[in-house]
């Protein structure tokens, strides 16, 4: 029983997180959320 409870909790958390990411990605795509801050992004290559 305990095993099922732990696995179910992990699965629900992962699914909710994934759903939230999908929702946020859609909001970003419509410009309703910041999503990505270019100035702070460590991936942005700075070419002076």
């Amino acid at each position: 029983m305990l095993e099922y409870a732990i696995v179910a909790t992990v699965l629900v958390v992962a699914a909710v997180f994934a759903a939230w990411r999908v929702w946020r990605t859609l909001r970003v795509s419509q410009g309703k959320a910041q999503g990505h801050d270019c100035a702070k992004c460590p991936a942005a290559m700075k070419v002076e």
Partner: protein, 813 residues
Amino acid sequence: MHADRHTVALLGNPNTGKSSLFTALTGTRQKIANFPGVTVEAKLGTAKFENSEITIIDLPGTYSLAARSPDERVATEALLGRVPGTPRPDGVIIVLDASNLERNLYLATQVLEFGLPAVIALTMLDVAQSRGITIDVETLGKQLNATVVPVNSPQGKGIDALKAALHRTLHHPGKALVVPFADEFNRSVDDLHGAVCDLSVKLGFKPARPEALRLLVDGAGPFFDECEQVGGAAFSGTLQKLRERAAAGRSLALMEAQARYGLIGGWVAQARTSDDEGKRTRTDKVDAVLTNKVWGTLIFIVLMLLVFQSIYAWAGPLMDGIEAGVGALGGLLLALVPNDMPMLHSLLKDGVIGGVGGVLVFLPQILILFLFIAILEDLGYMSRAAFLMDRVMAPLGLNGRSFIPLLSSFACAIPGIMGTRVIEDRNTRLTTIFLAPFMSCSARLPVYTLFIAAFVPEHGIGPFNLQGLVLFAMYWVGVLFAIPTALVLKRGILKSKITPFLMELPSYKMPRPKAVARVLVERGGAFIKRAGTIIFAVAIIVWALAWFPRDGAILDKHEAAIAASEGEVAERVATIAKDAGFAGDDAALAAAITDIQELTATHEEALAAAEKEFVDETELEAALEQRSAAFTAALLELKRRHGAAFEPAQAIYTARTEGDEAVAVIEKQRDGELLAGSFLGMAGHAIEPAVKPLGWDWRIGMAAIASFPAREVIIASLGTIFNLGGEEDEESESLRHVLVDAKDREGNPLFTLATALSIMVFFALCAQCAATLAIMRRETNSWKWPIASFVYMTSLAYMGALVTYQVASALGA
């Protein structure tokens, strides 16, 4: 209580130390101001001096007030106080780079024409001095009719003097600079100013004379659009006539430049002295080689080759270390799970450790790549690379403005796509956005390195390693496909003319360890964060889809088979012992079995070590023979020591080993059948016919599909799927080895070099990044572009993988 409140605009060329001056003036009292309708933003900060509070607007760096895009018009609008929510400046601080005085003064002449009280902040004096340049600050101030204050923001020098000068200047009205243009030119500006002032009611503001000057010279841009909208064809006609009259057959832009540089030349001649006038600086000499069409390109290619070689040469030991660390941590975690919880055990082992742990192993490679990028960036080399590539871009209808976002996309396409905002031409911008995901982002690196390390031999080709060369080639796959894509777009639906591109090549400087370290920490942190969030979530979901439903009939069938196999072994062992005259629990017999077991294990380890140690075949054969002889001698010694117990002990050991192998085969079959019957297996089998021509089986197909939200997920998915399918190697938990040992249904190796190349080409070309598509939608304000990109790139990836697999297989790879 502050008696005085003022607002001042801070303006200057890019890379003049403007931002550090802003920070030195305002400290931490800053906020970001977004300008409505445009994408650029300015910082607002407050500087205090005696009883004055000065709000400083740090405007985006610019070389001129000429505006081709709304973003470039912001500086003029802000100077005239026309940006809603941003106060009208009472004065202006113009930042001048002392080492590049002429070019910086060009913007200064345009700003001073507005007649706002101005103070000049002279930066980079140390750089100028190192080049033997001396500036007479007082003379320069007299020429410009403004106070010039030398500043060194990082050292805090001159900041108080600048504030004091500003305080004094703000209480005196400014006098507009008059640039000596030709009379006809000036008359045309005046007439045009009159014409635009007639539109002021409809425009909602009274245009300034310098705006009319810009309109006359540029003949286009956002201010022209506004005027044309309210003034219609009549206005366009007037502008055209006045432009023709002012130019009198010459280029207006050239006339403007000549007048301004003529004025600047006079100022500089009086205010600047140089020890080595006309001598080339060290940077100039280095640039003569690094930006040379032939040598520069060659050096660029060799440099990139070295970077990719280093990724393989250096990452190995670090990866082994992380692998061992992940393994040890996994062992500790698994020890906490009771034995009667197989599902939780599998979730941890196959989902979390096999999935997320497998991704973390690639951290060293990401860090090595970014170590080089950070060093080259800080050195100033990246600008030279952009300059070199500008030549390559021109035939494609793109220019250096497109190159910088594309270069940035090699790290991540998202900032690359956002960086296209600097491109004023809509069609060029759309083309660049469309091309950005083709550049091999850092998320593709783990995919390449996994398959290259597993399936590409470690041969040396000249001074280079084949693995490094293949990695280098993978980075070019996207570029190769981007070129025809750009040609088709720019010559077809997104046709436009090429606009000039001006880029500054900063002086070379020694890379700062702190700046490099910061990039590595940020980059490594972002990678770990991704592994711990989105990759973790997808790995758990993939695990659940591959675990459920559990078919009871399959479990029962294999449990019965395992029990039967174990019973058979027990029976064989009992018979051997009985036939030899020993009781089942005889101590002498048990001791002999243990010794044989230990000796065999040691021998197998010695063989494996020799295989790793010797590359040369003759040497390896000799080593293996030597070890086998030692094993036989040790075995004979055991036989002498254990006497009558030795023979039955050896037979029992063999029976048990065979029994263990039989159980392992049954378990592997069981795991394979359970995976095939899972939700993931069912979906996988449905798509298998589509991926079969690429050399993939359903497991690779499903891992690739799971990677559409984010491409690194494939590492975690492959780890989970192959571990759950019973493919993991007992001795090594590394995904690399699991993939090498994986078999297809017929028992042949699942992955060949052709399969690995096909997967890598697919990942190089496929649009597997939901975040990139979302940003594309936002930046283009339409779903048309992300959908087109997704369909185009995915089709291209499929075709590319298909051709790669078929050709590589035909060549015997």
